[in-house]
Every structure is written in structure tokens, then in C-alpha cells.
Amino acid sequence: MKLETVTLEPSIGSLSEIEDINLVNNIPHLTSIVNQMILQNGNTTKEGSINGGSESLQPITNEWYKNIPSLPIPRVFFRIIYKSRGIVIDVTDITFTARLTPLQGDDSEKVAEFFIEEIDPEDRSLIVNGAVFYWSIGYLDKPSGRIRASILRFRRFPSWTKHSLDTAVRRAKELKELLDDE
């Protein structure tokens, strides 16, 4: 399989560009979708859920904190033209290189180099060999017009606690004993 190497310039649309846009406007998105579900859900059981199903929302109840207020329709929407899953394979002081597996758009795997300064400062500690991220390129549609943008987000895992490490070590020993007995 031939891999294409791509070097990305910051001008392609960095995460900081996205964050400069007030994405708090997205909150109306969520509530409008949510309210459609509230309005359209019908019969309920005593528990307030729909026949025990996992449908998104309970119908409106008398308890005010369970109601989500109605807000206008969304003003900002991201249309993806390309999406991939990346795995970091090399890191330098200025850039990192990743193998990209397409999830939407182009079919071919690629190797791409990114500038570390494109990554949110709080995510830079996540840039290590083997780290996974998701990268979307597309159009951000706003009332003021369409802009080309990209969103790159690293996968986050819970911190290992001493308890979880101890549990993992104990479990590994148990499995080893089991395998040794066989």
C-alpha cells in the first residue's frame, strides 16, 4: 500500500482558529435537537421512560430541573469533507508525524506532519508516540458565511490510579499462574 506524505501548513486552518470562533453558539444546536425529542416522545411508563427503551429523553415532568429550556436553532455547523484517525509515529520539538487512516472522504492512508503549535496547549502533553487523534477538515457554516476549517482532537484516557495499576498487576499475575499451570 503506497502512503502519501503530506506536510501541513498552519494556514490550512488550525484548532486555534476554531476556538477563536465562539462555539458557545453551538449550545442552541443541542437543545433544539433535544427539544424535538422531548416534544415527539409520547407514551410513558411509571418511570417516565418510553417502554424501558434507551430513547434520548424523558418527557417533560413537573420537576423543573428535568426540563431543558427551548433555544433557537443552531447558528454554527461543521460539514466534514475529510475525517481520519491518526496515530503519532514520531515527535520532534516543532512537529509530529502521524499515520492517518481515513474515516470519511479520501480512501487512501497517508503519513502527515503537523506543527505542534497547531495543537491546543493543554493537549500538547498528549503528543507521544502511539497517541491517537481524530482530524476533521471541512466547512464551518455560520450566519456570516462559510470558512474552511479543521479540528484535531487527541484521545484522552483516564489517568492510571495506584489502585488500577495494582489491580492490573494482580490480574496479570493470576493469568500468568493460570497459563503456567497449563
Binding site: L23, V24, N26, I27, H29, L30, T31, S32, I33, V34, N35, Q36, M37, L39, Q40, E47, S49, G52, G53, S54, E55, S56, L57, Q58, E63, Y65, K66, I68, I73, P74, F77, F78, R79, I80, K83, R85, L103, D120, E122, D123, Y134, S136, G138, I151, R153, R155, R156, F157, P158, S159
Partner: protein
Amino acid sequence: MSPEIQSLSIVLRGQFSPLIFQPYWLVTENLLRKKEADAVEVEIIHPTATVYSSDWFQLKVLNDRFQIITTQPPYNEALRDLVLGIFSLLDNTPLKALGINQAFHFSLESEEVWHSLGHRLVPKEDWNDILNNPGTLSLNVQGERPDSYNGYYRVKVEPSSQVKNGVYIEINDHYQLSEEPNYNTDTKLVIEILSTNMENSLKNGQKIYNKIVEIGTGQ
């Protein structure tokens, strides 16, 4: 045809303590950036309900329901990872059911085409004998799961309340985690489903959406 609005939500039914799910707990556990937690808009944090929104997700936790939703497709995987992270930590949460739900609003070219979709999905010939000017208000169809998990697929189609000449499609990919009235007190199954089946769920949802659009537009 791209939807005008779309969303992905992950819903769990079980037993939850809403107070745990505060934004700074997610930061402490390395699941959320600190500045994201600083910027959340909190509706309530209370022993019976926690509801807040960041710029890419909304979280709502009640004593018997956990729900997280995003309307930004680039964050679909981040949403899944956040749920995976949370329930890796809360690994003894009693659970009954999981739903991976997608919703779409899309617009048709005219009111005439919009009506014809409703007629195609629910033919009106028999209804004309018993109702005056019948119209399709809501259609629910359920199908079996294509895999070995317990549960079902449920699709709802309705006129959209958000988009002109619009259609709303809701797809509920439902997994039954335990037999009523019992709970499954181990989150391994949820973690397995979200880790291995989420991509299939999104693809199936897209397939259903495309089919209904095709019915509506003839394309």
C-alpha cells in the same frame, strides 16, 4: 444530501449519582481540558440532576439516566471516548440499557416533495376513507439487530420542527444490557460495545438516513 442539523447521543439507563459528573471531575481524571471545564454553562449540579454544556457536548445525568450529546460530527469519537473514560472509572455502575442515537434534520426542495415523502412512507389511500385530509405526523419502525447483541434498531421519521420543508430522522441503536428488572453491575459490556461497535452504528445510521433521503428526493 447533507443534513442541515445532525446529532449523536449516547444514552445509558441504570443507577447514577449525578453529583459525581461535575466538569472538574472530568478534568481531574484527564478526560477534559481545564479550560473546557472553566467554560461550561451549568444548568444544575444537584444530587438528582446534573446538566451542563461545553462548546461541543451537553451532559445530562439523572438518577436513572445518563445522556451526552453532540451536534458537531468532528467530535463523535471524542464523545465516545469521554463515555468510555467515564465508565472505565465508574466500572461498577448498575446499567440496564445503552442507546447510540443519531438524529438528522434535512430539507426537501418543496412542500410538494415533502408531502410526497410522507405519502410514500405511509400511503394514505386507506386513511382517506376514515379521516379528512390525513397527514403523516410520526412514523416509528423497529427492526432486529444485525449482530449478536440483545436489543433492536428503531427509526422515527417526522416533519422537522427546525427546518423548512424538513424531515426529522431519529435512529435509536438500542442495546439491552440486562434482563428487566435486573441490572448489569459491570460496565465491561458497554465498554466493549462502544469500543468495537460504534463505527458500525454510525455507518448503519448513515445508511438509514441515505435511504430515507433517497425516498424523499428520488436520488
